[in-house]
């Protein structure tokens, strides 16, 4: 037996043009996020400085496309005149961090809880399932408000956000994964592995997980944008990234009301979020397909 290079999932992943495009986009955005100060520095801008000359008396950006100019590549933010390009590239940092980390956290908890509940069944399943119910029914909106008030100001906000949305985001995944695990439990190949004397760890890792990856990938790639959106919701509840630190979620939230008046304010951060989401989904689909041996290529 030789190691099978040709069948490595990465090989077929790289053969999928769309997936590659997705991957490249993700990397590009990561680079942009990393080099945000540099990039906005190129235009001599930062996301904090007001430029009231760039907005009219009523706060609307002056000029074409929301104030697009040599100085302001993406135009400016209404009411403040801050540079939108700088806001978008700096916002990528916050949003990526939050989107990734919170998704990772909720996926981890959700998959572990769901798989074990489905696998062990019995009282453990009942306990987890009821706990999931509690998490779902829990008025987390209110809880978050309370948190905003009781968490000391010194506590790093981004970590708090990640924890909050990560810890409240997992029950959905857990339910789905649990359902699929239960369905898998009866499959002959799982039974066969059990009959070989496989313990829970082995079964979960080698029998269940490979058959759950599809769902997990699809769910994860869908979750990232909603996590970025959740960050915006948290901003409104007072536990989001506090302004003026740029974050896509909050900027998009602000921009929605301006859509009929200053569409560009929404278009730039919105497109960024859309591209990232699309990239993750393309990459996710590609990964899913690459990991599925029955894929027709």
């Amino acid at each position: 037996m030789t190691v099978d290079v040709s069948r490595h999932p990465l090989r077929s992943l790289t053969a999928d043009r769309w997936a590659v495009a997705g991957g490249v986009t993700i990397v590009a955005f990561l680079l942009v996020a990393a080099a945000a100060p540099l990039l906005s520095g190129l235009a001599g801008q930062d996301p904090y400085t007001y430029d009231l000359n760039a907005v009219s008396d009523s706060g609307a950006p002056i000029g074409f496309g929301g104030g697009i100019s040599a100085d302001h590549w993406f135009g400016v933010e209404p009411m403040t005149g801050r540079d939108l390009f700088a806001i978008v590239v700096h916002g990528a940092r916050t949003s990526f961090l939050v989107g990734f980390a919170a998704t990772a956290l909720s996926m981890l908890i959700g998959v572990v809880a769901g798989v074990t509940a489905g696998y062990f069944g019995g009282w453990y399943d009942r306990a987890i399932s009821r706990f999931i119910d509690v998490m779902f029914g829990f008025p987390w909106l209110v809880f978050v408000i309370a948190l905003g008030a009781i968490v000391p100001a010194a506590f790093p906000k981004q970590l708090l956000i990640i924890l909050v949305i990560g810890l409240f985001g997992w029950p959905g995944v857990a339910r789905v994964v649990r359902g699929q695990t239960i369905a898998l439990r009866q499959r002959t190949f799982v039974v066969a592995a059990t009959a070989l004397g496989a313990g829970p760890g082995h079964l979960l890792r080698h029998q269940y997980l490979p058959n759950l990856v599809s769902t997990i990938i699809v769910y994860s790639t869908m979750t990232i944008p909603s996590m970025i959106g959740a960050e915006a919701a948290l901003s409104f509840l007072g536990v989001g990234v506090p302004p003026p630190t740029p974050a896509w979620g909050r900027t998009i939230g602000d921009a929605v009301a301006w859509a009929p008046t200053d569409p560009m304010f929404l278009v730039f951060p919105g497109t960024a979020l859309f591209l990232v989401t699309l990239a993750f989904n393309l990459f996710g689909d590609g990964l899913r397909d690459a990991l599925d041996p029955r894929t027709i290529r």
Partner: protein
């Protein structure tokens, strides 16, 4: 000419390389005739059949010509193909367990096939389903119709499949190993049914089988495939009488003949003891109705019997997979002892060898353990490490997401501390032992033929040289030549390591070759038990006698006589 296949070449992209499954296959089939497609496992029989139906997976590339009543099927409009399928062409798939949709009842699925091509009221459909299930020899058609696939035995499913295939009186019936899961009496019934179908509506039958007895019984013409090529094509009588091609001769020579009993081994200590085992699946289904069995170390017990009589159930109980209603299943408590001799004596891999067990009386009751699988997880796992099991349905017992090499390596990973390199070597040996090229290891189960998958399952069960092997129809999908080699392997392993084996099979010739003792099951009970010699050559119970009478022999003329002798006796 009903069906004409010309120059059929099918290639797959699998394992990263392009492989040709068939090369220039050609044959013709007239109405009312039975053409048997025989050949080595993996020689392209099933893919040829699928090509006729246009049901090959997207990875396949097909060239050549297939015409049905002069109409080209290759590249035909999907709608046209759809009309033909199920209506004019009926199909029995090779692995019935995977071929039924798990979420619908059998009755529902057969009914659907009827309704697709016939306009009938639902009552009429229901009635027809019942009739069909009765025709294929199922005792309780109503229960079968109500059951979901996982609630039925392999033979029951296979017969349901046949019922579905003939439900619309097809002009062409493609039957891919239609009797592999059937005991010989049921098989005889099915063969009669097919003959009747041919006689009644002039159906042409493309019969794929490895059982030369079945070929002799039913076929008019035979096409022999080897490695994707047609090597011989002849009327059945001539083929058996004067095989022209070398491979055909090998094949016929490999047909196990009834009459060569294995001597009983030196009586070892008991390794397995089943006492008064009763298994109820529900208040209405008693699968096993009080069975007691003993297997000694180094002994092979052949378990034969009626389809649906509870054989697989017993196997599952022994693996601790099915809760029992009452009774005990004691397995010797020690796990395999290490020795340095693996499958092939030259192997460098250390640490694999079976043991001679201690008395099962001192063993663990796996049936009791299985009642609380979580509480007894550790004990169960220890017990299972000493049991190898080959499931009746290899297709679904392999994880579709893992390469077969991974599946074979699984027991090694679980119970042996081997390096990755050692595992790889061992997997290579095992593949080799079951006559599969090492390169197959990196395929996924769906990229293999039925027989190849079955061999993977065998390799996995043998990986640890377990002291107890439960083999549920392990050679049902193998052609006789491969089967002969696998049986030889079995015997040599047995001689070397002396593992005990519960060998479930419907092929009495195989059982005769392999088993030291035989138990015969009928309707959940053991009706006869004794040495192979005793049971197979001097049967006492009427069912055993009927069974023996139904064995088809691989000679068209003799088989015709036997049939003539049997038929009136049955009525």
């Amino acid at each position: 000419m009903l069906l004409s296949v010309q120059d059929l070449t099918i290639s797959f992209e699998a394992g990263g390389d392009l492989s040709e499954a068939t090369r220039g296959v050609a044959f013709e089939l007239r109405r009312g005739r039975v053409l048997a497609l025989v050949g080595e496992s993996g020689s392209g029989k099933s893919v040829t059949a699928m090509a006729i139906l246009g049901l090959l997976p997207g990875t396949a590339a097909v060239r050549g010509s297939i015409t049905l009543e002069g109409e080209q099927l290759l590249g035909a409009a999907p709608d046209r193909l759809r009309e033909l399928r199920g209506g004019r062409i009926g199909t029995v798939f090779q692995e019935p367990m995977a071929a039924f949709n798990p979420v619908f009842t059998i009755g529902d699925q057969i009914g659907e096939a009827i309704r697709t091509h016939r306009r009938l009221t639902s009552a009429a459909v229901r009635e027809r389903v019942g009739d069909l299930l009765g025709t294929v020899g199922l005792d309780d058609p109503e229960r079968i119709a109500r059951s979901y696939p996982h609630q039925l035995s392999g033979g029951q499913l296979q017969r349901s499949m046949i019922a579905m295939a003939i439900s619309c009186d097809p002009v062409l019936l493609i039957a891919d190993e239609p009797t592999t899961a059937l005991d010989v009496t049921a098989q005889a019934g099915i063969l009669d049914l097919l003959r009747e179908l041919r006689g009644r509506i002039d159906t042409a039958i493309l019969l794929i089988t490895h059982d030369m007895g079945v070929v002799a019984d039913l076929a008019d013409d035979v096409v022999v495939l080897e490695n994707g090529r047609v090597v011989e094509c002849a009327p059945v009588a001539r083929l058996f009488a004067e095989p022209a091609h070398e491979y055909t001769k090998t094949l016929l020579d490999a047909v196990p003949t009834f009459g060569a009993t294995r001597p009983a081994p030196a009586a070892g200590a008991g390794i397995l003891s089943i006492r008064d085992l009763v298994v109820d699946y529900s208040s209405r289904v008693r699968a096993v109705g009080g069975v007691s069995l003993e297997i000694a170390a180094g002994e092979v017990l052949g378990l034969v019997g009626e389809s649906g009589s509870g054989k697989s159930t017993i196997g599952r109980v022994l693996a601790g997979l099915t809760p029992v209603t009452s009774g005990a299943a004691l397995v010797a408590g020690t796990s395999p002892v290490t020795s340095t001799s693996p499958v092939t004596s030259t192997s460098p891999v250390a640490g694999i060898s079976p043991v001679t067990g201690t008395s099962p009386a001192a063993g663990i009751d796996i049936a009791r353990l299985a009642r609380h699988p979580w509480r007894n997880a550790r004990a169960l796992r220890r017990a299972r490490s000493g049991i190898g099991i080959v499931f009746q349905d290899p297709a679904s017992s392999l994880n579709p997401r893992r390469t077969v090499a991974d599946s074979i390596a699984e027991p090694l990973v679980l119970h042996r501390d081997l390096t990755v390199a050692q595992q790889r070597v061992r997997v290579g040996e095992l593949l080799d032992a079951v006559q599969l090229p090492a390169a197959m290891g990196r395929r996924y189960p769906h990229e293999m033929s039925g027989g190849q998958r079955q061999r993977v399952a065998i390799a996995r069960a043998l990986a640890l040289n377990p002291p107890l092997l439960i083999a549920d129809e392990p050679t049902s999908a193998l052609d006789v030549s491969v089967q002969a080699r696998i049986l030889a392997l079995f015997r040599s392993l047995q001689d070397d390591f002396g593992f005990a084996c519960l060998f479930i099979s419907h092929d009495l010739a195989v059982v005769e070759q392999l088993a030291h003792r035989v138990a015969v099951m009928h309707r959940g009970l053991i009706v006869e038990q004794g040495s192979t010699e005793q049971v197979l050559h001097n049967p006492q119970h009427p069912y055993t006698q009927r069974l023996l009478a139904a064995i088809p022999v691989a000679d068209p003329q003799r088989q015709a006589d036997r049939r003539a002798a049997r038929v009136p006796a049955d009525h």
